[in-house]
């Protein structure tokens, strides 16, 4: 077996000019049919070649072929959806045909004990030097090239809008549920990669590809394990200096109940090692899927803060107090307003408003007060970031307030998040704000945690970028 390159380039998979769907069918129950249909529906503009061993004539209106070897034109990407037993042969043929990238969606490999079949796939990948994603995965979807190999019924999944978050997941199930939730969280997707058993392409290749990908502003990873630890660290070091990487690690319980001979080995289990590596190389860790989404949206839309001094504005005192507590719990602090800010706020706010942080603008605060506070905070060099609490249950808060929050949350050069707990009216306002590009959280705790992650990443980048200069 030839040795694998350090990194496989995923370009032929993410941005193919032509695709072959092996296992394509006119029968809507077949996965090969769904994949073909989804690519047509998603607006993929390149050439499409349906391949089926029993093919004659056309499939879904496209000229069909019995084998990839029968296609005369160059094929960039082959999507393989045939039974596991035949996959090694099909992959080998793809190699001979000069295909530049392969996705094997079929299951039935090492996850069910058929490592022999998977090894054959790996060998073909190495022999022909082709990036192969899978087997046992959903494959990829790409907001730019419009390639979509996910065999999920379009009606059952919310399609994310185009954006800057790229999401890679070992698990197809976690992958598809996150994908479904993205749109509701108000951020956009660049690339999605479900890589399953990682027979050839692994997390190192993906991390490296996404680090250099211009469309990707934030990398989000769901990882269960890493296969090449040292290379992963190298790729991670480089990637984390270029863009934020939010990671959630599955399999927190430790198999490391192994007989340890020292205290150190007993403490430093495999889960702890992962956590240490993530922390050391600037990854942002998420405990669960909701947190993964909470962090993704702030990193996609907000600039990095210069420090940890936070200004809170609110139209409800209690929530302001809770938010202040949450700041300190997550290692942030309440800012101290400059004189200029205090003076300008005194002029605008009614006498009942005590001008100090957290700034409680009272229950009748409407867009004028919100705007005055936001403008003053924006200009104040002693404020690094803003938490705007908008309780839409109050008489003054309405869509005009939401619009102001969007305006400032998108134009300022310091980060802002919104906290808005509430029911159906609030939910509508929340959506307006999020679609406008400002992250909204239901609780002060979530908001503070997200801001703290942003601040930590800013610090990591500052200290490491300076050093490497």
């Amino acid at each position: 077996m030839t040795k694998r390159p350090r990194y496989f380039n995923l370009e032929p998979i993410m941005n193919p000019k032509s695709i072959a769907v092996i296992g394509a069918s006119d029968n809507p129950d077949k996965i090969g049919h769904v994949i073909l249909a989804n690519n047509v529906a998603s607006g993929f503009r390149g050439a499409i070649y349906p391949i089926n061993i029993n093919a004659s004539g056309t499939i879904m209106g496209y000229t069909a072929y019995k084998s990839i070897l029968d296609v005369k034109e160059k094929v960039d990407l082959a999507v393989v959806a045939v039974p596991a037993e035949v996959v090694p042969k099909v992959v080998e043929e793809c190699g001979r045909a000069g295909v530049r990238g392969i996705i094997v969606v079929s299951g039935g490999f090492s996850e069910v004990g058929r490592k022999d079949l998977q090894d054959k796939v790996t060998r073909s990948g190495m022999k022909y030097n082709i990036p192969i994603i899978g087997p046992n995965c959903l494959g990829v979807t790409d907001s730019y090239s419009k390639i979509d190999t996910l065999f999920l019924p379009a009606a059952k999944i919310d399609k994310p809008v185009v954006g800057g978050v790229s999401f890679a997941s070992q698990s197809g199930a976690v992958g598809s549920s996150v994908l479904d939730m993205i749109d509701n969280e108000g951020f956009g997707l660049a690339r999605f990669i479900s890589y399953g058993n990682a027979a050839v392409v692994d997390e190192v290749d993906i991390l490296n590809y996404l680090a250099d990908d211009e469309k990707t502003k934030v990398i989000v990873f769901y990882i269960e394990g890493v296969q090449r630890g040292k290379e992963f660290i190298e790729a991670a070091k480089r990637a984390a200096l270029k863009k934020p990487i939010v990671v959630s690690k599955g399999g927190m319980t430790d198999e490391g109940a192994k007989a340890a001979h020292s205290h150190t080995a007993a403490l430093a289990g495999s889960h702890q090692a992962y956590e240490a590596v993530f922390k050391q190389f600037g990854f942002i860790m998420a405990d669960d899927i909701q947190e993964l989404l909470n962090l993704s949206k702030i990193f996609e839309t907000q600039p990095l803060p210069k420090g940890r001094r936070i200004a809170i504005l609110t139209n409800g005192g209690g929530t302001g107090v809770l938010a202040t507590d949450a700041l300190y719990e997550h290692g942030l602090q309440i800012a101290e307003m400059s004189k200029k800010t205090v003076e300008s706020l005194r002029k605008v706010m009614p006498p009942i408003v005590n001008v100090r942080l957290p700034l409680d603008m009272a229950g009748d605060a409407e867009k004028t007060r919100f705007e005055a506070a936001l403008a003053a905070f924006e200009a104040d060099p002693k404020i690094d970031a803003i938490i705007a609490i908008a309780l839409f249950q109050t008489p003054g808060a309405d869509e005009n307030v939401a619009a102001k929050l969007v305006e400032y949350g998108t134009k300022m050069r310091k980060p802002m998040v919104v906290v808005s707990p509430g029911g159906s009216y609030t939910k509508r306002q929340r959506q307006i704000i999020e679609k406008g590009g400002v992250p909204v959280y239901e609780s002060p705790g979530e908001a503070a945690k997200a801001l703290a992650a942003l601040a930590s990443y800013a610090e990591y980048r500052d200290s490491h970028v300076k050093k490497s200069r």
């Binding site: 394990g225 890493v226 630890g229 040292k230 992963f232 660290i233 340890a260 001979h261 020292s262 205290h263 150190t264 080995a265 007993a266 403490l267 430093a268 495999s270 702890q272 090692a273 956590e275 240490a276 590596v277 922390k279 050391q280 200290s463």
Partner: protein, 203 residues
């Protein structure tokens, strides 16, 4: 899997300029008493068959003068089942904060260095920081600052610097030395300095 002999391990510590408490193997209670020179000492039975000395009852701490004879024979009785063993006498370090610095090898990421609140608190609080080797000064400092017990371990700038430098030396030794696991537990921080009191190196 073999325990590196105490003084071989101590020599390695010296090479990396890591301080350790004054120790000597003793063959009798008299020898131990002579070593104590009137101060308090600790006696430890060292055996490849008992990796956890204190758990196996093989440590007697804080004895001096006339107590040494009795403690010595009691220790010999308890150590009998771990033969062959040797008895190590160490000068007692008074007071101070106990920390652990250790090393262990991860299948994926290789050698890792650990800092934690030490001694009996290691397992109770599990307050520790872990990094992949090699590390630099900044990372050593971040390990201290990550701990809940940071104010206990390093209450001021000077002690923070001392502990960080110690972590760096230990990390270099662990990476450079041919060992699989390392426990310096405890290292006692006292009087503006520190002493490694127990050394466990596993090849």
């Amino acid at each position: 899997m073999a325990l590196v002999e105490y003084f071989e391990a101590e020599r390695l510590l010296k090479k990396y300029k890591i301080r350790s408490v004054e120790s000597r193997y003793v063959k009798s209670a008299e020898e131990a008493e002579k070593f104590s020179a009137g101060g308090r000492i600790v006696l430890k039975a060292v055996s490849g068959k008992a990796l956890h000395k204190s758990k196996s009852g093989l440590v007697v701490a804080g004895i001096s003068g006339g107590e040494i004879g009795k403690a010595y024979s009691a220790l010999e009785r308890r150590a009998a089942k771990y033969r062959p063993y040797r008895i190590l006498a160490q000068k007692m370090v008074h007071g101070g904060i106990e920390i652990i610095i250790g090393g262990s090898e991860d299948v994926q990421f290789g050698k890792m260095i650990l800092l934690g609140l030490g001694g009996i608190y290691v397992e109770a609080f599990k307050d520790f920081a872990l990094r992949v080797c090699p590390i630099n000064m900044e990372e050593a400092l971040s390990m201290i600052r990550q701990l809940r017990s940071r104010k206990i371990i390093a209450p001021d700038r000077a002690s923070e610097k001392m502990v960080a430098e110690l972590i760096l030396k230990a990390a270099r030794m662990y990476q450079g030395g041919r060992m699989k696991e390392l426990d310096l537990n405890p290292i006692i921080i006292h009087d503006g300095t520190y002493d490694a009191v127990d050394i466990r190196m596993i090849k």
